[in-house]
Symmetry: C2
Subunit: 779 residues, 2 copies
Amino acid sequence: MSINDAQDPSAQELLSLPRLAPLVPMLYVAWTDGELTPEELRALGAAARAQPWLDLRSSAVLAQWLDPLSPPTPRALAQVREHIRRTAERLSTSNQQSLAELGAQLAELLGGKDALPAPMQELARTLAPMETALGLSGVEAVRSLLPASGHRREAPVSQASFHVDALRTVLERTYTAERAQVRQWLREPAFRHADERDTAAYRARVFSWLEQLSERGLGKLAYPDDLTKVDLGAFIAAFETLAYFDLSLVVKVGVNFGLFGGSIYFLGTERHHREVLPKVASLELPGCFAMSELGHGSNVRDVETVARYDAGTGEFVVHTPSETARKEWIGNAAQHARMATVFAQLEVNGERHGVHALLVPLRDEKGRLLPGVRVEDCGLKMGLNGVDNGRLWFDQVRVPRENLLDRFAQVSAEGEYTSTITSASKRFFTMLGTLVAGRVSVACGGLSATKSGLAIAIAYGDQRRQFGPAGADEVRLLDYQTHQLKLLRPLATTYALDFALKYLVKRYVGRTEADAMEVEALAAGLKAYATWQTTRTLQVAREACGGQGYLVANRLPSLKADTDVFTTFEGDNTVLMQLVAKSLLTGYRQQFADDRVFTVMRFIVERASGALSDRNPFQVRRTGSEHLRDGDFQLRALRFREADLLASAARRLRKRLGTGMDSFQAFNQVQDHLLTLAHAHVQRVVLEQFLAGVEQVEDPAVKAVLGRLCDLYGLGCLMDASGWFLENEHIESGKAKAIRKEVSRLCTEVRPDAVALIQAFGIPDACLDAPIGLGHLSP
Amino acid sequence: MSINDAQDPSAQELLSLPRLAPLVPMLYVAWTDGELTPEELRALGAAARAQPWLDLRSSAVLAQWLDPLSPPTPRALAQVREHIRRTAERLSTSNQQSLAELGAQLAELLGGKDALPAPMQELARTLAPMETALGLSGVEAVRSLLPASGHRREAPVSQASFHVDALRTVLERTYTAERAQVRQWLREPAFRHADERDTAAYRARVFSWLEQLSERGLGKLAYPDDLTKVDLGAFIAAFETLAYFDLSLVVKVGVNFGLFGGSIYFLGTERHHREVLPKVASLELPGCFAMSELGHGSNVRDVETVARYDAGTGEFVVHTPSETARKEWIGNAAQHARMATVFAQLEVNGERHGVHALLVPLRDEKGRLLPGVRVEDCGLKMGLNGVDNGRLWFDQVRVPRENLLDRFAQVSAEGEYTSTITSASKRFFTMLGTLVAGRVSVACGGLSATKSGLAIAIAYGDQRRQFGPAGADEVRLLDYQTHQLKLLRPLATTYALDFALKYLVKRYVGRTEADAMEVEALAAGLKAYATWQTTRTLQVAREACGGQGYLVANRLPSLKADTDVFTTFEGDNTVLMQLVAKSLLTGYRQQFADDRVFTVMRFIVERASGALSDRNPFQVRRTGSEHLRDGDFQLRALRFREADLLASAARRLRKRLGTGMDSFQAFNQVQDHLLTLAHAHVQRVVLEQFLAGVEQVEDPAVKAVLGRLCDLYGLGCLMDASGWFLENEHIESGKAKAIRKEVSRLCTEVRPDAVALIQAFGIPDACLDAPIGLGHLSP
């Protein structure tokens, strides 16, 4: 049974009248798409019947067709649509701007020009107001009626504006050989993502990966035989590259070589370096870093574990005096570590000397626990279940005097305590310096995870289509404005952080006693900022992939779960940001985590005043694209913000301290202000480094795309803080709007390069391994 | 060997000179805590030696003690500290404001008033500038030296300002019996959290829970025998309460009763209600809701699955024509569903009629797949692994004509298609209305998960201490300003949403054809806003618990992972927010998801202009607490923002459409603006409902605490949007600052009630089951 076999009488009647032909498309759409009220249908009928060219018969049929009380049947409507479609196939063009124009053209096709009641152009002009008044106008209405094939508009395949390899060379300019080496290791078939549900099997596999990497020389990368050649930057680059693969493995590597090895390297002396470090590097002696305690996570200065020196036997007695003193969250402790660097209150001759580190064997060569050592598994975690985190208790465990890591403080056989650092506070922070490399590494590892997540979400957004203009292909997600803002702004931040973290590594590797505090603050701030970005970006990436992003097979769940703890381990981000703020207030000079003798005497308000004079009426109003895209303008704005926040924080603190409030309470009252200051500071540093990095790029195409990303980052920072800038009259309303507009525009400009920009990360395909993202990354 | 046995000569010398006694504390601190530069040490020495009361001997010893080149030994410093401590034990007070004052008092104790070089007060005044200049001043320095016991300050146990039960009564004022019923069920020992790693076992357990709840009457709560008594509000309240327990179970309940049962109830007719619905309610017939397809997640209007009517046999032939047409993410499909409501393009006589729903059996009574049906498991997910999500393919599967859910469209035996709704678009959205209950439920379920997460984090923050003023107990996390801002603002939002979602349920239950569109938009907006809040709040809660929050045992990982998909399922939040914006632009009238004939003729700009006149210079500047805490002020500000954003969005769209840009592109160019508008709209609705709800509370103490939370919510919204308000000159800088300050102040005021506020949620202890949170919730 075909359509024509059972012609609906009302459709038949309508289609048989030449004078109604121009109205047919409008009538169809009025009933099927417009959802018109009865009043509107009546009004349409009245308007149509007022047309002088309608005869009586046509008027009567039209009235029937527009009777709100007797709508046409679905069959009648289907036949009308079929009629329109068939006739339209003979149209030569498809750029009709209204239903009326379409109707007129169709009528002409059917009956010839003479059959038309009036010249086509004029007719369309007469009818157009009717459809407009009813909200039926627009090219979409026309497209919805015409065969799709004639109107398909395929988005052109985007062509990147630069060579992917050229950008990749820029990203891998430091420690190039080490990065390539790790990539080569990861290409081996053993390094494939494992099922993470069976904790025992997963841990065993992660340990076996660790063994294979150690055999290939990963440990020696950190601690070469010739220790004068140590360059932890190489190790951090390896860590960063490994983070494209399994994050449990990365943390395991970090615990063994970074924290355990690092504590021996930094806090130990020649004896430890000679006897222990080579075994750490070869993984002959897996170890752990036992600092945190149940009751003392951020505040490690107050750990309770005691190491009492017994001069009678020449041993330290390590003891856990209470339940809150148990060592908590110790990576590698539950299963594999044979030795621990234990942080404990050193007690010599009844006198406490503060927190010191010493080596305590945990297990024998067969992995059996030694006497006095108790271990408990921390249990299932949100992620990183390939890492065996454990709790440790020591019951009067004795270790030789030589096990004290004695670079900064020594205990003689007779029980004489000596230290070159008289200040217990300074001694504590010097020993804590071990943690800095860990913070740098975590920030870099988190950035790799961010890159993986963005690569998956951008590859998916570039392929996936959903919704679109009528009659055309659905639109790629990444062509939607909100999708661009969601993903391309984090992409810009990721590039910005790539430059900033390379700067951090350089500063860390080249640090001296003079700038050690500043480097520590820099590491604290960038660790916090980068890992918060990681969490936020992976969340956005997951949502941008919809249900696909929720599937474990597409890797985003593991990336999210594994990195979630990055914001609170190796220093809680909120605590770290407060340290940054305090170090700014004291010009990096005072031990910044030490509140006890904290002083606000040293506020470098003068430093602020220079930047503060930058507020001039001209700048406040300029909105030109050239001005906004001037890195110098962006940087000056961020510097102004930082300086002003620093000065106002100092003022607020001074006011409180002046009234006799204790410093703890005073700081608590301006804590949020301090976090804002720290955030502003880090953003300024990041933009500064991004700008400096772009400046040095030689390839003009790469320089151009990085420049756009840099503008997107810089203006994005200004946009996010526009409330502050408006409040402080550094910009005017028009400028805030212009910045927002420029950010959107930059997203549109970066969009065609989006896929190439994630390809340039050079994430090994086997590592990425997400069905929705694959096939897009190897350029 | 005690300290006195081996007196260090330099310490002995220092402590033997009465004239140096007042300087001893300062000397000790200068070496141990101040980290002074050599220059500062020399300056201190010079200043001290200039004191007229120092004799030659004292001056010489002092010079030795301040020689930067020969610092005191640790032993000497330890002995000095011990000396100070012992002497200080005899002090009657401990309120010394400076090291100098302490030194003077100690000197007096040792040698009597006569031994002092000058009267104590005067001496302290002379010395104080020295320590101040070096940043050694402050009570902390004193406290760090004195025995801790004398200075312990225990924070008073916080006393709530209201009766927990009274507030709980307010929160449970709707569907009280149903909530109590579900709580009673959850108290049974079967309902305890299960290990989620073994997917098969977990699914079996979830299904067994579902069976037990069905036996007890959960299904009948949704579909009682007398269908005239259906009140889905009761079911939603049950759903919300179940969400305190296992979220896989909740989703399973939602799929079976909400989506599958709901599709039959809403789209079916008497025959389906009589024959199928009772079996759904009893779980005799587990089912699923097969709408989404791989290629058609958000854009379900374009699903490809076909249901072709074969008049010869009186059957529909259901078929999956391509790989992108496979049904994707279908809950209950992989394992338990025996029937599916399948959404397919209905084809009758070669004519397509758009998306319709029909019942398709999947498995026989023994659970074996029926011919032509292919199922694949979606595989491991981030969370909700107790739900068996599957993919479905149909290969020419035949079902009787009666299986069409034919409330809105019918196909006669002969193949005549009829529908009371002529507009395909309207028909589609009418059928999609089934999803509204799902969206309401997801928002409510997400809110319960938010409450659980906040309860854990707030209980932990109330107990956990870290850092603190010198010599005093460490401070509870929740007494830190940033911690309060982190957790108490989301707490206020959670209370706000409790009121707003109860309003939504009421509107949903009482909806008519006239306001159906408005209720749909309300559900879309609140679902998006509430589930984003859930994701954000649980992230904050996890971070606020540090490493403890990362442990699966403490439930936050499951809460996060299970709810993460809430932002993209049952309607992607970004898509839903755009629908909200479009519905505002068209006054809820046009089918708001239908872009094709979208018109901007109907912008209700007049509606905006009333609110816009609200901008007056007086309001713009007022900063008093009373004014800021006036809900009317907050609401007017949010209304102004909404109206202004609506008007400007309309202007921007009209401008683009006026130049002939197609509506799809025009909308894409203002997409971000539309999201901001939708967000502003939802916040306004939420505040409105919170204010209205508080107004009706009778208990004065409960009313007062809810009023504070309401202010915190309202002012928090204004604070977050302060950039916008400044840009639009609705507030001035001073007011923006005042709002920020008031938000902090409100947090401080809410702090003592925090624990009682989470107790009032009435989350069953066994459900919460997080070691770090337990013991705090039963009031």
